[in-house]
C-alpha cells in the first residue's frame, strides 16, 4: 500500500537525520535524571509511607510521575508529556513544511498519491518514532519492577494516556506542518497549539471550577484520569476526536496545494 511507502520513506528520513537522534538522546538523559531524583525522594520516605494503610507506592510516586509533573503535581520539571510538548513540534516541523520549502512535495503528488495518503503516511511514521521513544522511556521505571511492587494496571493506563497525548501532539504537529511554508513556523505553531490545549483550563482550575466546556477541552483533564489508572471511554473518544480533527484539517490544507499550485 502506498500509504506505507510514505511511512517507510518518512521513517528512513527521520532515522538518518541527526535531529531525531539528538532529540531522543537528550530527552532520555533528562528522564533518566528525573527517575534518579524521584527514586531518591521515594527511598527517603519509604519507611514513613510503609506505615500508612493504602499509602502511595513505587507506581504512584516514581513510575507514573515519570510521565508528567504538571498533572501529577511532582516538583520536578519535564516528565514525558512536558518534554513531548517541546520535542514533538521539532520532530514534525519538517514532515510537510520541509518538503514544501525543498520543493519535494510535488514529487509525492506526481506519484499519484492523495493528500490523505501523504499526510496519514507521514503521521504514522512520526507515531512509530514516538512509540519507540516512549518504549525506551518507560523501560526506565520498569527496570526496577523486579525489586519494587509495580501496579501494572495503573502503569498501563498511564502509559496509554501518555501515548494518546503524544498522538494528539503529533497530529497537531503534522497539521501545523501542512499549513506552514517553513519548518520553523510549523514548530512554533505546533508548540503554541500544544501548550494552549494543555493549559486552556488553567484559569478555571485556579478558580476552583473542575467541570464545564473549558475543562473538557483541555487535554490535561483527560490525561489526569488515565494517569490515575482509570480508563474511561469518554477520555479515549476525546483523544481520538482531537487526532481526527487535527488530521482532517491537515489533509484539507494539503489537498488545497494541488488547487493553489
Amino acid at each position: 500500500m502506498t500509504l506505507f511507502a510514505v511511512t517507510r520513506l518518512e521513517l528512513r528520513r527521520l532515522f538518518v537525520r541527526p535531529l531525531g537522534w539528538i532529540i531522543a538522546a537528550l530527552a532520555l538523559a533528562e528522564l533518566g535524571w528525573r527517575f534518579a531524583l524521584l527514586l531518591q525522594i521515594f527511598l527517603l520516605n519509604q519507611v514513613r509511607l510503609a506505615a500508612l494503610p493504602d499509602g502511595p507506592g513505587y507506581t504512584d510516586l516514581v513510575a507514573v510521575r515519570m510521565y508528567s509533573s504538571f498533572i501529577t503535581g511532582s516538583p520536578l520539571p519535564f516528565g514525558v508529556i512536558e518534554l513531548a510538548l517541546l520535542l514533538v513540534p521539532l520532530l514534525t516541523m519538517s514532515t510537510l513544511a520541509g518538503e514544501r520549502s525543498a520543493g519535494t512535495l510535488p514529487l509525492l503528488f506526481a506519484s499519484g498519491l492523495s493528500a490523505t495518503r501523504i499526510l496519514l503516511g507521514k503521521y504514522l511514521a512520526v507515531l512509530i518514532w514516538l512509540a519507540l521513544w516512549l518504549l525506551l522511556a518507560l523501560a526506565i521505571p520498569v527496570s526496577l519492577a523486579h525489586g519494587a511492587r509495580l501496579d501494572w494496571g495503573m502503569f498501563a493506563a498511564a502509559t496509554l494516556g501518555s501515548f494518546l497525548a503524544l498522538a494528539v501532539l503529533a497530529a497537531i504537529g503534522v497539521a501545523a506542518s501542512a499549513y506552514a511554508a517553513h519548518p520553523a513556523v510549523a514548530a512554533v505553531a505546533a508548540l503554541m497549539l500544544g501548550l494552549a490545549l494543555s493549559c486552556i483550563n488553567l484559569g478555571a482550575q485556579l478558580a476552583g471550577v473542575s467541570n464545564g466546556f473549558v475543562n473538557w477541552l483541555a487535554m490535561s483533564t483527560h490525561q489526569e484520569t488515565l494517569l490515575r489508572g482509570l480508563v474511561s471511554s469518554a477520555d479515549i473518544v476525546w483523544f481520538l476526536l482531537a487526532i481526527a480533527v487535527a488530521l482532517a484539517l491537515g489533509i484539507q490544507r494539503l489537498a488545497s496545494d494541488r488547487e493553489r499550485g
Binding site: 511507502a5 510514505v6 520513506l9 525543498a102 514529487l107 506526481a110 499550485g261
Partner: protein, 250 residues
C-alpha cells in the same frame, strides 16, 4: 474474418485546459494530443505557461477547467493513474538530501506501487541505464547539479512510464551527457514511450523531437511535426511568435 483491431487511445489528451495563477491566466484553452512514441518539444519564453502545463500533466496542479485523459482514462477523476503512467522530472530536480541515490530510487519505486524483488530489479536497471552505479551509495545532498539531474531522470524512468514529462532536462549536463540524454530519449520513443520535453533551447528540440508546440501567453500558437533540417525554419517561427506576441501584448 478477423475484426479490425481497435486503435489504442492516445497516451495523453488535453482538452480546453485552463489555469489561472497569481490572478492572471497562465494557460488558456489548451488542447493537445500525444501518441505513443512521439517526442513533443514544448517551447516558449519565460512565463509562457510551459511549467504550469507540465505541472498539470504531472498531477501536481489541478486545472481550473478542461480535461486530461491518460491512456483513455480521466486523470482528474483518477489521479492514481500517474503512479504507473507518468514519469516527471521537474526543473532543478528536487531531491531528499539525506537519502542516497539508491534509497531515492527505492523510495520512488515503492511510492509508485512497485513491491518486493521488483524494486531491486527496477532500481538496478535504471542505475545501469543512466550510468549511476558509481554514485549509488552517495548522498543526494552532495551530488553535482548534473548528477542530480541524472538521478531525477532515473526516478522518472524507474517504473517504465508510458509518458515522460521533462522540464529542462539538459540543464547542467555536460555535452557528453547531453548527447547521452538525446540518445536515451530516442530509444525510449522507439520503445513506445511518449515524451514531452520543455526547453528554452531550440537545438534540443531539433535534435530529439519529432513534433514541436509553441506556447505564448498560455495559448498554443503552433503545433506541427518537425522534419529534419528544420532548425532555421523553427527558429524563425519561434521568434515570430515570441516577438510578435510581445508586441501585441504591449
Amino acid at each position: 474474418m478477423n475484426a479490425p483491431k481497435p486503435a489504442s487511445p492516445p497516451v495523453l489528451q488535453l482538452e480546453d485546459l485552463v489555469r489561472r495563477r497569481a490572478g492572471r491566466p497562465a494557460v488558456r484553452q489548451l488542447s493537445l494530443t500525444l501518441q505513443a512514441g512521439q517526442v513533443l518539444g514544448l517551447l516558449g519564453v519565460n512565463g509562457a505557461g510551459k511549467s504550469t502545463t507540465l505541472a498539470m500533466i504531472a498531477g501536481v496542479l489541478l486545472p481550473d477547467s478542461g480535461s486530461i485523459r491518460l491512456q483513455g482514462g480521466d486523470f482528474l477523476e483518477h489521479p492514481e493513474l500517474a503512479a504507473r503512467a507518468i514519469g516527471w522530472l521537474p526543473e532543478a530536480a528536487p531531491l531528499w538530501p539525506e537519502l542516497t541515490v539508491r534509497e531515492h530510487l527505492d523510495a520512488h519505486a515503492r511510492l509508485r506501487g512497485i513491491r518486493g524483488a521488483a524494486v531491486v530489479q527496477a532500481r538496478d536497471a535504471v542505475l545501469e541505464r543512466l550510468e549511476l552505479n558509481d554514485l549509488a551509495r552517495r548522498l543526494a545532498g552532495v551530488l553535482s547539479q548534473g548528477q542530480r539531474q541524472r538521478l531525477g531522470l532515473a526516478c522518472a524512468l524507474l517504473h517504465r512510464p508510458a509518458l515522460l514529462v521533462l522540464d529542462e532536462p539538459a540543464n547542467a549536463l555536460d555535452p557528453v551527457q547531453v548527447a547521452a540524454l538525446r540518445k536515451l530519449l530516442r530509444e525510449l520513443a522507439s520503445d513506445g514511450t511518449a515524451v514531452i520535453l520543455s526547453t528554452h533551447q531550440l537545438t534540443e528540440v531539433t535534435a530529439v523531437c519529432d513534433r514541436v508546440a509553441i506556447l505564448h501567453e498560455g495559448t498554443l500558437r503552433y503545433d506541427a511535426p518537425l522534419a529534419a533540417d528544420q532548425h532555421a525554419a523553427l527558429e524563425k517561427t519561434f521568434f515570430d511568435i515570441a516577438v510578435n506576441g510581445r508586441a501585441q501584448a504591449a
